[in-house]
């Protein structure tokens, strides 16, 4: 089966921004996403007190261009305000039209 290279963008952020973040990555061009829950530690410390539980881990498989747009959007709107971290991993998929 032929696969096509795309980018997997993984974002860890505060659960309080979940809805806002989903809207923002869609605006960047993401056609789908998956959200799980994690707890962790980074430079801003441990645990965030929130009704929805600790932190969200959102991942979205997108084209290189959309991935760049998401990283730019995160820099502008999230990195300096919310305990947020993101990384990008190369990913191969079949059915590239889906992403």
């Amino acid at each position: 089966m032929n696969t096509v290279p795309l980018q997997l963008v993984t974002i860890i952020s505060e659960s309080v921004v979940e809805q806002k973040l989903i809207a923002d990555i869609k605006a960047c061009g993401a056609k789908g996403y998956s959200v799980g829950h994690v707890h962790g530690e980074g430079v801003t410390g441990k645990h965030a007190l929130d009704l929805n539980g600790p932190s969200i881990r959102l991942e979205t498989v997108v084209t290189e261009k959309v991935a760049q747009a998401i990283l730019d959007m995160l820099s502008a709107k999230y990195f300096n305000k919310y305990a947020t971290i993101a990384w990008m991993t190369p990913a191969q998929v079949t059915r590239p039209d889906r992403f």
Partner: protein, 318 residues
């Protein structure tokens, strides 16, 4: 006698659970509840408080209600203003941070509120049942006023959407549907659900306070960096607001219990609804400051010293 009253309040299950969990955590015992339990219990508590309030509102007449309601609205406007002023000028915080704190002190701590009710019931002091209904109103107004204060310092256009996000957010929405369901269904038809929403309440609260004790212990480290003025204001602001609440309650002729409840509504600081709201609307504000002040200082203060004090105020005023 006041010392006895402090002990009396201190020795309830939720308060001791909070303190024991706090101390155990400081000694590095792992007493954190399972991760999935925290959202379950807070959801449960919000719904249960809402149902209790809605049911009480259904039983109250508008003639009883309108005066306390107006007092609540006034307190909802005045208490965040007082908090803002003290934190901004005595505490020398930025507009954003002072507004964030105002949102917390203008809003209400549902847990402090509930511990008070437990204490009142244990000491057989009656209060007006519909007071729980006022909780939700105060919870919202206080936050809105505080966000309004910060309006100038934030990117203006986002303000309205932030506000609507806050009101539709989980904690206010759950409280809200609890009130509506309780009001519509009414006490009699709610009875089959009482074993859950009434019977489990005190136990769930005790579990919740174990978790809050753990979080408060983790926050204690931040107190040093917050500075002594914030600690002082974390005690002074609730006392001032609580006293105003007691005065307001007495002015409209509430019972002793009702005056104490009004004092706690005004004097307590939110740490469920407000942090979520502030995080969304004022992301530049420092959580290390407002969660520490509200959960690390004011909450334990109210739980141990504040509640007996508010009751004493109420007894003096009625």
């Amino acid at each position: 006698m006041f010392a006895a009253s402090i002990m009396d309040n201190l020795l309830t299950a939720p308060v001791i659970a909070f303190l024991v969990a706090l101390i155990a955590t400081l000694f590095r015992f792992d007493v954190r509840l399972p991760e999935s339990l925290y959202p379950i219990i807070s959801t449960f508590l919000l719904l249960a408080i809402g149902l209790k309030g809605g049911r009480a509102l259904a039983a109250a007449s508008l003639a009883d209600l309108w005066k306390p309601l107006i007092v609540s609205i006034i307190l909802g406007i005045v208490t965040p203003l007082i908090a803002f002023t003290l934190f901004r000028f005595a505490g020398r915080l930025s507009v954003i941070n002072a507004s964030a704190l105002a949102a917390h002190y203008g809003s209400v701590s549902a847990v402090t509120f509930t511990v008070l009710l437990t204490t009142l019931e244990a000491r057989e002091i009656t209060y007006e049942g519909y007071m729980t209904g006022l909780l939700a109103i105060l919870e919202i107004i206080g936050i809105v006023v505080a966000l309004f204060l910060a309006r100038g310092a934030t990117e203006g256009s986002d303000w309205k959407s932030a506000l609507s996000e806050v009101v539709r957010g989980k904690s206010i929405a759950l409280l809200g549907i609890g009130i509506v369901i309780g009001y519509v269904v009414g006490p009699t038809r709610l009875a089959p659900t009482d074993p859950v929403f009434v019977g489990l309440f005190a136990g769930a609260l005790t579990l919740f306070l174990i978790e809050l004790g753990v979080i408060a212990a983790e926050r204690l480290r931040d107190i040093k960096s917050a500075g002594p003025v914030v600690v002082l204001l974390g005690i002074l602001v609730p006392l001032t607001n609580g006293f105003l609440g007691a005065l307001g309650g007495a002015a409209v002729g509430l019972s002793t219990g009702g005056v104490a409840v009004m004092a706690v509504l005004a004097g307590s600081a939110s740490y469920i609804a407000a942090p979520a709201a502030v995080r969304i609307a004022l992301p530049q504000a420092s959580p290390g400051l407002y969660v520490t002040a509200s959960l690390g200082i004011t909450f334990p203060f109210n739980l141990t010293v504040g509640i007996p004090l508010y009751i004493a105020m109420a007894q003096a005023l009625t």
